[in-house]
């Protein structure tokens, strides 16, 4: 099962450390979700976080974009440290994400959902919007164009006007990705983007993730349970278990790490 890694040179080679997590600990009541975790993410890389269920992966993402505030530790973005960052501030700094349990806006259409991803770029005020006039109208058009590009890119044209609640699970995940992409993020956090997908859809999803990484140079942090996917597309992998980091390295290194095999992989794939 050998896989050729880099088939062609990447447009955006992996660069400096962009985001670093230093000694982060997070607990809820008696439960220690994260204990003293440190790792970093480099610019333009695909960074995977893996680990058994309840290891604290999602909590880690929530810390990264300010949904949870760790009791200890710091997050640095381009060297600047942040404490108690609120999530919409994180968004303003270019961090977008998707969720493990799809968090789409159920009452809205696909198009509207994706358009919300661009809210940070909207400038017109609500009075202009109420009149649908001048800047408001122009702006809606501009953003519609941008969103249509994302829609084309993710191949969801046919469901544009469908309320998201009616879509099958896999498509919903794709819409969620589209919404995150619409914000043109620097860093994209993906929480199990491929759960509940069949092989073909996973392949599509991988393609999208790689393309985003390639075209836009977006840095990607990814949680995934499908080892095939993780091994194939990530540059480096962090492994968590019971809230602690038990491994960090390239996919090859991880595959060979006995602690990881014991805690997570079980039989090799």
């Amino acid at each position: 099962m050998s896989v050729a890694l880099h088939q062609h040179p990447r447009a955006h080679p992996v660069g400096e450390v962009l985001l670093s997590v230093e000694n982060v600990s997070l607990s809820f009541g008696g439960v220690n979700a994260l204990t003293d975790v440190s790792f970093d993410v480099r610019e333009h890389e695909v960074r995977a976080i893996i680990g058994p269920n309840g290891a604290g992966k999602s909590s880690m993402l929530n810390v990264l974009n300010g949904v949870y505030h760790p009791q200890k530790g710091t997050i640095r973005l381009r060297g600047k440290s942040f404490h108690d960052m609120v999530s919409h501030e994180a968004a303003a700094m270019g961090i977008a994400r998707t969720f493990q349990n799809i968090a789409l806006f159920k009452g809205m259409t696909v198009l509207d959902n994706i358009l919300t991803g661009r809210n940070l770029k909207m400038r017109s005020n609500f009075l202009q919007q109420a009149l649908w006039w001048g800047p408001a109208r122009r702006e809606e058009l501009v953003h519609r164009h941008a969103v249509e590009e994302v829609i084309d890119f993710l191949e969801i044209q046919h469901v544009r006007k469908t309320p998201v609640g009616r879509l099958p699970y896999g498509l919903q995940k794709r819409v969620e990705l589209a919404r995150a992409l619409a914000a043109e993020p620097k860093i994209l956090l993906l929480d199990e983007p491929m759960a509940g997908m069949n092989l073909e859809e996973k392949q599509d999803m991988c393609r999208f993730i790689l393309d985003v990484n390639d075209h836009y140079g977006t840095t990607i942090v990814l949680i995934e349970h499908d080892m095939g996917v993780v091994m194939d597309i990530s540059d480096r992998v962090v492994v968590l278990d019971y809230g602690r980091k038990i491994g960090d390295g390239t996919p090859e290194e991880i595959r060979g790490n006995q602690a990881v095999i014991d805690a997570y992989l079980g039989v090799t794939h």
Partner: protein, 358 residues
């Protein structure tokens, strides 16, 4: 296939983003406006104007306001009547105290004051959700009415607290007949409905809906919760405030606290739910249902007992009407839990496929 979009191509996004992208809808709306502005004034009687159409329109506006808050931004409120009261009383005071102010400006002032009150009572929504928030907004309802009863300045020191609304005059023309009041109301309601529709299909509306559907996710994609919720309260209360002013000026002709009791808040909420949560059209349908159905029921029973000369005790008739009305509400909810607007939408989808079943 009466309702078919086939053959209507939209080649630019601008076209696709029209307010009513489907031709049939556009035509229907034009027809409706024509009927509202031209045909109705020619044929309707005073009864229709002052007993049916004007209250229907005003309640539609209030429902629209609450729908922006509840339906779009997801915050249930039972303070609607209070916002209406603020609108009515502040419009009255603006007229009274600012010499020469145009009546429309007074209405706007009423609306703005209601918006300010709305923002204050919207603050708890940052922490409180769902039915808890609904009950908490009752504080607003009672506090506002209490204040109006207690501060004589607001009622211009009238003995009973009931005051007569001033004349409505715009550019020298006095709106004193029911027909003219109807036209004034209709114009205001139509314009504000248009503005609401625009607002709800642009960024603000999307932010509202995002907060409604999943506020944590909304925050994560950068929608500021506080600003969005408070804006929703402000806009919604503005609509309710203007509706309150119209209620006082164009409908009752008096400005009094008792016209804005809790009952009205509940009625407007019923209208939102029956009409369809999160739908502009639904606001109108809901207002129509709740204001007109009881009247038609009553007219119906009167007609039947007249025609067949049945002497039934009136208490029995009134109670029967109440029961029927309640029953109808339940019936419609079972047929379509998402309100009349959704029913209408399904009907359209069926029409589109007609005569094929699927």
């Amino acid at each position: 296939m009466l309702y078919r979009e086939a053959g209507q191509f939209r080649s630019t996004y601008a076209e696709d983003m029209q307010i009513f992208p489907i031709r049939q809808d556009r035509i229907a709306l034009m027809l409706l406006l024509a009927v509202g502005f031209v045909v109705v004034p020619m044929v309707a009687t005073q009864y229709w104007f002052s007993a049916l159409l004007i209250p229907f329109l005003i309640f539609s506006l209030a429902t629209l306001g609450l729908n922006i808050l509840t339906g779009y931004a997801g915050q249930i409120s039972l303070g609607t009547a209070a916002f209406m009261a603020v609108g009515a009383f502040m419009a009255y005071n603006a007229q009274l105290r600012i010499p020469g102010i145009p009546i429309l400006a007074s209405f706007a002032i009423g609306g703005l004051c209601a918006a300010a009150v709305g923002i204050v009572f919207g603050l708890p929504s940052l922490r409180i959700k769902g039915f808890y928030l609904a009950v908490a907004t009752l504080a607003c309802q009672f506090l506002v009415l209490w204040t109006i009863n207690r501060v004589p300045w607001l009622t211009n020191h009238s003995a009973s607290g009931v005051i007569a609304a001033q004349k409505i005059e715009i550019l020298g023309y006095t709106f004193d007949t029911p027909a003219s009041k109807y036209l004034l109301t209709l114009s205001i309601v139509a314009l504000m409905a248009l503005a609401a529709k625009n607002l709800m299909r642009s960024e603000t509306g999307r932010a509202f809906m995002a907060v409604r559907d999943m506020d944590v996710a909304a925050e994560v994609i950068g929608i500021p919760m506080m600003k969005t919720k408070l804006l929703a309260f402000a806009i919604s209360s503005f609509y309710c405030g203007v509706a309150g002013a119209l209620y006082a000026y164009c409908y009752l002709g008096t400005v009094e606290p008792e016209a804005f009791v809790l009952d009205i808040s509940f009625r407007v909420l019923f209208m939102v739910i029956i009409g369809g949560v999160g739908s502009i059209l639904g606001s109108f349908l809901g207002a129509g249902f709740i204001t007109l159905v009881p009247i038609f029921l009553n007219l119906g029973t009167t007609f039947i007992s007249d025609r067949f000369d049945i002497e039934i005790s009136h208490a029995l008739v009134s109670n029967m009407e109440l029961i029927t009305f309640g029953g109808l509400i339940i019936f419609f909810l079972i047929v379509e839990p998402n309100g009349l607007a959704r029913l209408w939408q399904i009907a359209k989808e069926k029409l589109r496929l007609w005569p094929f079943p699927h």
